[in-house]
């Protein structure tokens, strides 16, 4: 019965519709009488909006309405909030002005929505938007991360001095300083974690609709967390009471974190539908996506690592400037703090750690969680400085890591930066990766490359991440505005098949298959008899959504708890049907059996009896449907090793990835094919960050220079060799599935592995992205040293 259950590489159920064009995305939803929104956007990074002449657009063909920030405010709608409170070093709260739905008086980044035009067709809305007269007075803009908090910079928000949202710290400063005082060797590193644009294949989209009969506002939208969106739009924006607001996130073509955030445009569509009494739709053009989808990363960091004479780590101190963009978005404040510096211990015993973050506002697009969210930044700091230390000390990078690994018998391990790791075996994946990559013969390959005029380098990344976010009490204690449990409902239908309702959301992860496999194993129902429903707040239990590699560890665990309830109830029914004692009923492979006999009832027969209870135990409710909420006991801690080998062409600076190894410990695996796909995709994004992707702003005007695919370079299939991937397994100790999550690991580790390899090949520091230009320039400045080697 469990031929397609946990551990089997079942083909993804959802792929047939995706690959045949039968997926149903927000833009595919047509509503009777629908009209189109087109947003008028600020062409300036920073400017006052002095006047808007609505009449210039209102008379144009097809135009129903023009709305501005004043209209939104007049209806009492609020601002889009930051979701996570951070406190300054002195205990005072952060400063986070909310993001207006439409600019009230001052635009703070290029692309910020100033007004919206609603018209019968999109072309008419666009014509009128082009014609709308808006008077701006441009202001000087603050752009650069590293200098935004310096005195004298233009103020993004008048009430946020020095553009500093907060200055935050973690760890023990005195102990760390003492560790450095006793160090035999200190390695220092200045690194930039480049700003990225998420580039989900499906752009953001919305269809807002108001039913005057039920007074329910419905918003079809591209969201990773529809219930959270509903909560934010009800509680903070006052769009509609929660019970009168329905959010539907149907098939969603990729999120990578950028669809966590609740955005202005989608909210305006839902509100405007009530105003014009017609459904209002909008789909972002790609150019709009570039300037308005929440960006990722954007850190400038100085780090120092103290070691004793044997290369044992004594202390780590890190100072980061994190760019929030013009406003703090939902996870915008948590990402560069609790999701970042809590991972600074890496896989190592580091007795003392102290980290500081200054989060700054700039006249740029808001920054939010992006695949890995803080953990790639942490891995980049830790793994770049550890590798740099190894090279400085003349040690093999693998050897230095092994000297400092937390050992398998030292778990649970309390780090100096809040987290307690539950389990792991770091040497195991390092060793397996060394074998898979034939590291022993690297010098032979390097010589071969040199014979062909190429510089070969190798780089490691031994990453750890905190996933399965997160225990609600811990989230609350750290300033999170919500709990991060998850929910699930298992509904047996009378004919014996199953509908699963989950509070998490699938936007490429394959939940419809993985969750069905979980049901197959736990309830003995084949995968093709299980339908997974997600994304509609009216159809699914309240859930916190999908991000942070949490859906299986948290949402899957909720389903296991619900399955346990189904089995418990099923035993009562089966006992009655089989005329046996409930205590004697065993359940395996979809069958309730009287222990020691061949008397049995299938779970389908039990389900039928539950819905047609003609012969039924007294005191048992009819029906077979159970719900569960699961609040995790801890984060999960996926960890692994990536080893990247590159060849650099010294004539052009081109970097070619010639070998890439990834060995991951994700705990128990539900579907190895989906896991491998997630690892491949994550690595592609991580390599994209390391070598290609960069959101580049003009430092004076704040215009996005890499605002299209002509200049923003995405990784392509031919940029990669065949990836060598492997797994090790230490099951998570605190969730019923033993799973840890796999969605972000590739993107978390790859930038460090690639940049360590590039640095090794080039012989000098290159900042991300290591474009051919940058590598060539580094080689020009390092030419004498390279020649000496």
């Amino acid at each position: 019965m469990t031929a397609d259950g946990i551990g089997v590489a079942v083909r993804r159920k959802e792929d047939r519709r995706f690959l045949t064009g039968a997926g149903r995305y927000t833009d595919d939803i047509d509503r009777y009488g629908q009209v189109y929104a087109c947003f008028v956007r600020s062409p300036y990074a920073h400017a006052t909006v002095d006047s808007i002449n609505k009449e210039s657009a209102l008379g144009m063909p097809g135009v129903l309405a023009v709305f501005t920030g004043a209209d939104v405010a007049a209806d009492g709608l609020g601002l889009l909030p930051a979701g996570w409170m951070i406190h300054n070093k002195d205990g005072s709260p952060m400063k986070t002005p909310g993001h207006p739905l439409l600019v009230a008086d001052r635009a703070r980044y290029v692309g910020e929505a100033v007004a919206v035009v609603i018209a019968e067709t999109y072309a008419q809305a666009r014509d009128a938007a082009d014609a709308l007269e808006v008077d701006y007075t441009p202001l000087p803009a603050t752009i650069a991360t590293g200098t935004a908090s310096k005195p004298g910079q233009p103020q993004v928000h008048d009430d946020v001095p020095n553009n500093t949202a907060f200055d935050w710290c973690i760890g023990d400063k005195a102990a760390t300083e003492a560790a450095f005082a006793n160090a035999a060797h200190i390695t220092k590193l200045d690194i930039v974690n480049n700003r990225l644009i998420p580039n989900a294949m499906e752009p953001r989209a919305a269809v807002g609709e108001y039913d005057p009969g039920t007074e329910i506002t419905t918003l079809y939208t591209t969201s990773q967390n529809p219930h959270v969106a509903r909560l934010v739009l009800s509680a903070f924006v006052q769009l509609a009471p929660e019970h009168k607001l329905r959010i539907v996130a149907p098939d969603v073509g990729g999120g990578f974190g950028s669809k966590i955030y609740v955005y202005a445009e989608e909210t305006v569509c839902a509100w405007a539908a009530r105003k014009v009494k017609r459904p209002v739709r909008w789909t972002a053009e790609r150019s709009e996506s570039f300037v308005t989808d929440a960006h990722g990363r954007d850190h400038v960091t100085h780090a120092e690592l103290a070691m004793d004479a044997n290369g044992k780590f004594l202390g780590l101190r890190v100072k980061t400037f994190a760019n929030l963009g013009a406003f703090a978005s939902l996870f915008g404040t948590a990402t560069p703090t609790y999701l970042y510096m809590t991972l600074l211990s890496g896989q190592y015993k580091i007795p003392a750690i102290y980290g500081e973050v200054d989060a700054v506002y700039t006249n740029t697009t808001p920054v939010d969680a992006y695949r890995g969210a803080g953990r790639p930044e942490a891995t980049f700091v830790v793994e770049r400085i550890v590798e740099t230390a190894a090279r400085e000390l003349g040690l093999d990078p693998a050897d230095l890591r092994r000297r400092n690994f937390i050992q398998p018998d030292e778990f649970p391990y309390q780090t100096p930066v809040l987290l307690q790791y539950d389990t792991g075996d770091y040497d195991k994946h390092l060793t397996k990766a060394l074998d898979l990559g034939d590291y022993a013969n690297f010098t032979i390959r390097k010589a071969d490359s040199a014979a062909r005029g190429k510089l070969r380098g190798v780089g490691f990344a031994c990453y750890i991440e905190a996933c399965g976010i997160a225990p609600s009490a811990a989230v609350g204690a750290l300033g999170g505005g919500v709990g991060l449990w998850e929910s699930g409902t298992i509904r047996f239908n009378p004919t014996g098949n199953v509908t699963v309702h989950t509070g998490s959301h699938s936007h490429g992860q394959g939940h419809e298959t993985a969750f069905a496999q979980l049901i197959a194993t736990h309830l003995g129902v084949p995968v093709d008899q299980v339908e997974v429903v997600h994304g509609d707040t009216m159809q699914t239990p309240f859930g916190m959504g999908t991000y942070g590699s949490r859906s299986l560890a948290v949402g899957g665990s909720a389903l296991v708890k619900a399955a346990d309830k189904i089995v418990a109830k099923g035993k009562k029914i089966a006992a009655h049907l089989l005329e046996a004692s409930e205590a004697d009923i065993e359940f395996t492979d979809g069958k309730f059996t009287v222990a020691g006999t061949d008397k049995a009832k299938s779970i389908q027969e039990v389900a039928f009896a539950a819905y047609v209870p003609h012969n039924y135990p007294a005191g048992v409710e009819p029906g077979l449907e159970e719900s569960a909420f699961y609040d995790p006991l801890n984060f999960t801690f996926p960890a692994g090793t990536q080893i990247c080998e590159v060849e650099v062409d010294p004539d052009t600076g081109e970097v070619e990835i010639v070998q890439f190894v990834a060995v991951d410990d994700f705990g128990k695996i539900i579907n190895p094919m989906i896991v491998e796909g997630q690892v491949h995709g994550g690595i592609a994004q991580g390599v994209g960050q390391a070598l290609m992707e960069h959101a580049v702003y003009d430092q004076d005007t704040g215009q996005l220079l890499s605002g299209s695919y002509m200049d923003y370079c995405m990784p392509r299939a031919d940029d990669f060799p065949t990836l060598k991937v492997g797994l090790t397994e230490t099951p998570c100790t605190h969730n019923p599935l033993g799973v840890k999550g796999c969605g972000e690991a590739g993107a978390i580790a790859a930038p460090a592995a690639v940049m360590n390899a590039v640095t090794n090949a080039v012989g000098t520091m290159v900042q991300m992205p290591a474009t051919p230009l940058r590598v060539w320039e580094a080689l020009q400045s390092a030419a004498p040293a390279a020649a000496a080697e």
């Binding site: 150019s287 960069h694 200049d711 051919p772 060539w776």
Partner: protein
Amino acid sequence: MYAVNYAKPASVADAVAALSAAEDGKFLAGGMTLIPTLKQRLAAPSDLVDLGAIGELQGIGTDGDALVIGAMTTHADVARSPLVASAIPALVTVAGGIGDPQVRNVGTLGGSIANNDPAADYPGALLGLGAEVRTNSRTIAADDFFLGMFETALEDGELIVSVRFPKPLAAAYAKFANPASRYSMAGVFVARTASGVRVAVTGAAAGGAHRMETMEKALQADFSPAALDPITVNPNGLNSDLHGSAAYRANLVKVMAKRAVAACG
């Protein structure tokens, strides 16, 4: 995109007539530049005259020793043509390296050279091979055709019918592609012909494709990569953007030139 009149004539004569009748018309070849420009509302022609149904603009043939390629022949058709591969294999390299498969399946030779994007590949090949552009009214030597960024010798309403490529003794194209767009950041086309060596560079300079006389002279004397070693490419006038400084592009021109010479065998 603004509203636009659309016509799809079946002959060169009808196409030219349709354009001259239009208030502000544009020929539409593969549309790889024009369509995105229209979608972004950066251009607003009154009429589009689609050249896709005109049989006389299609196809690859010979004229003595030379290849004649119809203006509406796609990059993909050139890249997979056995005739091109045997006569001028360097053109297979050029056409097969433009953009990505989707672009190559739609983009055309005529569209590329009429647009004369300074980073397009074909203008370098035409200059390097000393090709001739045949229009509905005359023949224009490649040396006289490309006048600078997005500028050509074409008159209003003049339509490219085909390009005649003389067969060289040897030729090769080496391109360093922009990592994002895959346009040329420095593409160098080198040809040894009966009348001498020709070297053309595309992608590096703001003015677009141009000949490199210093390299031609050096190679005329000694056709080897080493012959280019003493030459310093002047970065003045070369493009500088987030993908490459002028100095970097100057380096790329030399590196690509040496690779093209080496590939000539």
